[in-house]
């Protein structure tokens, strides 16, 4: 119960009017910067951190929390409205969210993202307060072989993003895996598929690929078919707000997304991408409207957004209990703490409980402020889609390229963006699904390095993968998930042949 009292104390500090104002300003600034192309939440925080330096610790912390949430939400906004995910974790959001926006349901998509983020953030904060010590013990014992097994589960479940044909889905995935090989091999420092081009040594940037495939590819595809049927975008069709049905279809994905996001986020190498993929494919499997997936299913926005936010709260577990910054954003949080000469770590909870709980309370308040600020703005945001088609797509392309230019202003990087755009166009034309390419690029390298780390530690003995109970269990799950559909399909096909 100590934790509860401490959290209440933190709350009391955070809800002072002045601090609420700071939270609001933080959310505003964070959203404004976060919607800019190429600027993800971590960079948003990095850029705006100096603004908080001059405030007192309490105010600074809460504004910081506001910037952080604002930055995250800003990224989701561009993913939903103009199909340019600013970070890999909003890819799943773009998948369904943009389809919703194009169908005039941008309002509910933005709303379910904001509310889902709030719900997930709240639950995860409570989880942080009560489960942190237990979770961290579990997380630390998660070794490379266990990560590899988790990755196998993720690979098997991505078939949910495959679309209609397994062959074409797998083709997309393997193209993504190939792209994931490009660059310096993390374990031996040798270049692979770089062909002597220095810019390729760092590998293919996920955002360059995603923005090229999604935004540029989409623009090319739409323009190529313009003479068939003029795409009419109505910014609002039906209700601007979430209807009763939307709520009914959202609340479970929020909760399930949180269940994926928080524990995986708490793993030192868990990240936000895997829980968003897992959430997306789970929602697709469980949905009563699986036919809507790929055409704008609200579950596909609600789940991954909640997972993304819950995983962000999950990264606070190793940060606050061990001083481990496990993501770029957590590293920025660490910078936030260091302003006060504090090094987060095992001693922090004991030495400065006021600040720790202050931060947790601030995150909560900032989350509330995000809702307060952004729900009224939803109507304004979706008006963006009322811009006439030529200007809308011209603006999207300018935004998309600006993101790449801001991150890496090189001819090679921009050519890659254009090349991925052409690839996205051709893939749409020949009906290859887009998402598995990005999934392969993200998961492939992680799976490979974790497997090779495990092999290095075991001196090449593959049995190490089965000796860890966690990894053996996860591999078992992956195997069942892999084989079951094929067995079913095989039986089905067998019957069909008999007819």
């Amino acid at each position: 119960m100590d934790a509860f009292v401490a959290l209440a104390n933190g709350m009391a500090v955070a809800i002072q009017p002045m601090n609420m104002l700071y939270a609001l300003i933080g959310v505003l600034l964070g959203t404004a910067v976060g919607v800019l192309p190429g600027i993800g939440p971590a960079l948003t925080v990095a850029l705006l951190l100096p603004v908080t330096y001059k405030l007192d610790p309490g105010g600074s912390l809460i504004m910081f929390a506001g910037i952080y949430y604002g930055g995250m939400y800003g990224g989701s906004t561009t993913a939903i409205l103009i199909n340019t995910p600013g970070e890999s974790a909003s890819m799943a959001t773009a998948l369904e969210g943009n389809k919703m926006a194009k169908a005039g349901r941008g309002g509910p998509a933005l709303a379910t993202a904001a509310i889902g983020s709030f719900v997930a953030g709240t639950i995860a904060t409570i989880g942080l307060a009560f489960l942190a010590p237990w979770l961290v013990d579990f997380a630390v014992h998660f070794g490379p072989e266990d990560y590899f097994a988790l990755m196998c589960v993720a690979f098997v479940t991505v078939s949910a993003t495959f679309g209609s044909s397994p062959i074409r889905g797998l083709t997309s995935l393997f193209i993504g895996l190939t792209l994931g090989l490009v660059g310096i091999d993390k374990l031996t420092g040798q270049p692979r598929l770089a062909f002597g081009i220095p810019e390729l040594l760092d590998g293919v940037e996920v955002t360059t690929l995603a923005v090229g495939l999604f935004a540029v590819g989409e623009a090319l595809y739409v323009v190529s078919r313009r003479h068939h049927s003029e795409e009419k975008l109505e910014p609002v069709r039906g209700s601007l707000w979430m209807t009763k049905e939307d709520w009914q279809r959202s609340w479970k994905p929020w909760l399930r997304g949180t269940m994926f996001g928080f524990p995986i986020g708490a793993l030192p190498a868990g990240g936000a991408e895997i829980p968003t993929f897992l959430s997306y494919s789970t929602e697709k499997r469980l949905s009563k409207h699986p036919e809507e997936f790929g055409k704008g299913a609200i579950e596909g926005v609600a789940g991954p957004e909640a997972a993304n936010n819950a995983s962000a709260a999950g990264t606070l577990v190793p940060l606050l209990t061990l001083g481990l910054p496990t993501s770029a954003t957590a590293a920025m949080m660490l910078a936030g703490f260091q302003q006060y000469g504090l090094n987060p770590g095992p001693l922090l909870f004991a030495e400065r409980p006021d600040l720790v709980w202050g931060l947790i309370a601030s995150l909560f308040i900032a989350n509330v402020m995000l809702l307060v600020l952004n729900l009224p703005l939803v109507g304004l945001w979706v008006k963006l889609l009322a811009i006439p088609q030529p200007w809308l797509y011209a603006g999207i392309l300018v935004f998309a390229t600006t993101g790449t230019i801001a991150a890496k202003p090189s001819v090679v990087e921009l050519s890659m963006l254009a090349g991925f755009g052409v690839m996205g166009f051709l893939m749409r034309r020949f009906d290859f699904p887009i998402a598995p390419v990005v999934v392969g690029l993200i998961l492939g390298p992680i799976a490979e390095s974790q497997l090779r780390r495990a092999m290095s530690i075991s001196l090449g003995d593959p049995m190490a993968l089965l000796q860890s109970p966690m990894s053996a269990t996860l591999l078992g799950i992956a195997l069942i998930a892999l084989v079951a559909p094929f067995v079913m399909q095989g039986l089905g096909r067998f019957k069909a042949n008999e007819d």
Binding site: L177, L181, Q190, V223, S224, R225, L459, G460
Partner: protein, 161 residues
């Protein structure tokens, strides 16, 4: 885009599908070649060439799978494409890359892309679009360089700010 089949795809053999299958096989070959250039300097565990070979095998199998689909004519039907509009946008992207590469700066580069895209989508008021694009990209440039101190590529125009 001229090599794309026009109208409904041929029933029997889909030539575009055959091209895709060949491209996948080619990619697999590149992977194997690249992996053969690597040296395994890690004495323990798996070397850097294992994963590329595994992926290459996968690509090879998929190339066969795609070939079979194409020979059966199983690819989904395609509508004709407006190649001119697609080339116009690609031209805009090429212009953007050229301007950035030659040091022309962010504003002219993105303005060129803006105008090319708007034209591709059927606008015919190039001067008005030039003005809109210029104002928009200038605002972006100023926001990045002044408010965020992130420098976008600067040409003669940007140095005035």
């Amino acid at each position: 885009m001229s090599d794309l089949p026009q109208g409904a795809a041929e029933r029997r053999i889909d030539s575009a599908g055959v091209v895709i299958a060949l491209a996948l096989a080619g990619l697999a070959a590149v992977l194997v070649w690249d992996a053969s250039q690597l040296q395994s300097n890690n004495p323990y565990g798996m070397g850097p060439h294992v994963m590329p070979v595994v992926i290459a095998v996968g690509l090879g199998i998929l190339a066969i799978g795609n070939l079979v689909e194409a020979l059966r004519g199983n690819l989904p039907a395609r509508e004709s494409a407006d190649a001119k509009a697609v080339w116009l946008i690609l031209g805009g992207l090429a212009l953007l890359i050229a301007i950035i590469g030659l040091g022309g700066g962010f504003i002219p580069a993105t303005t060129a892309l803006f105008v090319a895209t708007a034209t591709a989508f059927g606008r015919r008021a190039i001067l008005a679009d030039l003005a809109i694009g210029f104002v928009m990209t200038t605002l972006i440039y100023v926001a990045f360089s002044r408010l965020l101190t992130l420098s976008l590529p600067a040409g003669p125009l940007e140095r005035l700010f």
